[in-house]
Amino acid sequence: MTVEAGYRVVIGLETHVQLNTASKMFCRTSAAYASAPPNTLVCPVCLGMPGVLPVINAAAVDFTIMTGLALHSEIPPHAKFDRKNYAYPDLMKWYQISQYDLPLCVGGWLEIAANGETRRIRITRVHLEEDTAKLTHVVGDDGQPASLIDVNRSGVPLMEIVTEPDITNAEEAMAYGLKLRNILRWLGVSTANMQDGALRIDANVSVWPIGAEVGNTKVEVKNMNSFRALGQALDYEIERQIGLLERGERLEQETRGWDESDARTVSQRTKEYAHDYRYFPEPDLPPLEITRERVQRLTKRMPELPDAVRQRLVEELGVASADADELIEDRDLAAYTLDVIERHAGPAAEVVTWVLQDVRRLLNARELKSADIPISAASMAELLALRAKGDLSSTMAGTVLEEMFATRKPLEEIVAARGRQISDSDALAEIAREVMAANPQAVADYHAGKDRAVQFLMGQVMRRTRGQANPGKVTELLRAELSRDRGA
């Protein structure tokens, strides 16, 4: 969108990410709540019973540090948890264990590309907390409005990533969100699916006239459950605030929810003292000392991240940059492709095109995930080698690939049954002569200047060889035989 001239827009994003640990943040109950019936993944700790003691899940701390490392954050040696107090039925204890002044990761940045330019969005902090129970607002059995609580989600590890107010429009916010999601997936710390609530992006939006004092009225926008909604909500909110200022009205500091059906943000009349959380150090949890050894161990555990892979594909392996961009959007497909590239003697670009086109078409047709390609990287490299050697034409290789997907038979078996491409010149020349003898009309057409007659003869050769003739060779030989025929 185009923002009306004369206004400054700054946006900061707060992203909540559910970590995909096996157990919850402070208890051993399974965190895999998504498909569980209500209130079946609950223990005294996540139910907030009196007298229970939380114990920190080391994997959640590791995942948060790894995320910080990917975002170039500093990992301070001291961290602690704090209690954030507020009274709401989704919070079983009436406080949430979170991190206030000593988060696990401090500072950092994420580089994004939007509106044709590359920018660094500064990261303020990454901290760890626990998710809340899920509330559903319904009409109860007695016809009265009621809220229902499912405690399964309570205590699921939740990581919060906060940016500086460096974002200036909806496109940048979406670019940031998409890039962050991809990194989280490459790290394997979260499914980062927005529609399941594993990735939730809230925005703080401030608008003020250029030249006026820096605006300090922040409007928090929530409830966007897709990237499309994020973009639309920010566009709407920027327009709304500019509209108010144009009419000489005051902006109000408030929280607004995105209403998908009405395509607008709606004020959420929240509790008056929303930000009076009275944080204090969590007395049930000793502080965390993050040793340098631990940070080093986690640094070693970090996979190569999408930006680095992209750079390697383009600069070292000569892959087209649009193809590299497409490939790194899919971690599993990229990993598989890199594995094949390593085993393939030919150019990497050949492998990438093959995977993005032929392999992905079959994955889509069979509704398979990229992680479930039924062909080993070694077999795939062999198939590409057969094609490169000319033992298989491109068409034949495609057919073999399709059969491998369908039957899961080994490559050798399929190639043995189907036969290899015939590239032997003597054998092909003989077939070419036979076809010419059987089709005198086509030969006459060719001599009369109808070049298309070659296509017909070519088709006849392919038929006789059940598609196994090397098409390039056949064209070449046909033309040679035809001109010799004219000379005769």
Binding site: R28, L41, V42, N57, A58, Y86, L148, Q268
Partner: protein, 96 residues
């Protein structure tokens, strides 16, 4: 000194409906509690490092392993009202 307004504010945060008499009583009680803590301000702590925890432990963590949860019947045992296998409470406005 804690004033009446602060008592009402804290009560509102805790979702407590206090009567006028209760507000008076709470103001007096809270005042006493705060005075007790005021005594700490008299101490010289210039050579004490900032302390968030008095237990001499750090980095107590556990492995990411699961164990069986409670049965749903047990989870619901203290619920004031159960509906559709969930805890039913008076309607609250969608908030967070």
């Amino acid at each position: 000194m804690i004033d009446r307004e602060q008592v009402v504010h804290v009560a509102a945060l805790a979702r407590l409906a206090l009567s006028e008499a209760e507000i008076d009583r709470m103001q007096a009680d809270l005042q006493q509690i705060l005075q007790a803590f005021e005594a700490l301000n008299a101490l010289d702590v210039s050579d004490v490092s900032p302390t968030a925890q008095v237990i001499p432990l750090a980095t107590v963590e556990r492995l990411d392993e699961t164990e069986a949860p409670l049965s749903r019947d047990d989870v619901m045992r203290n619920a004031p009202r159960v509906e559709r296998d969930q805890i039913r409470v008076p309607a609250v406005l969608p908030e967070e």
